[in-house]
Symmetry: C2
Subunit: 89 residues, 2 copies
């Protein structure tokens, strides 16, 4: 089952890694604990909307950009059969 | 401050109302309490990823469609100045 928090976590982690930043650095910027950020990134904890905003701000990302990225990931993960049909056409 | 749960709630409520369905009906289909669904719709409670999936299933919506809709809402709410500039151009 596709879970929103899994996609939120992987998107935040990808952005952080792409920026060459540590969990410690981003957690400090977002004023969350390192453990909390790590759990959110691994999709093990639901980020509250307020803390999601703080993490996005620490990563200098707009929430809309994060959600747009997740929307594309979800679309890809939800329609595997259609993709196969399209490939075959 | 824009909160993800506000947008999730309003999108779910709009979909339910567009389908002419009651809170009771959708809550039953999603196996959540009426009070929980009502709080989620009003942006007062964070829906867990699992229950968000259940609510989407009860509304016969794909999670990707809900998230795509929210992505557009967020984009619109984040760039009011740009919109004004575009209107004036």
């Amino acid at each position: 089952m596709t879970l929103l928090r899994t996609h939120i976590g992987s998107t935040l982690r990808s952005a952080r890694v792409a920026q060459g930043r540590t969990l410690r650095d981003v957690a400090k910027g977002a004023r969350v604990s390192l453990g909390y950020l790590s759990e959110v990134e691994r999709g093990q904890k639901e980020a509250s909307s307020e803390l999601l905003n703080s993490i996005c701000a620490a990563l200098e990302l707009q929430l809309s950009a994060v959600i747009a990225d997740i929307s594309l990931q979800l679309k890809a993960s939800e329609a595997p059969t259609l993709s196969v049909v399209e490939d075959a056409a």
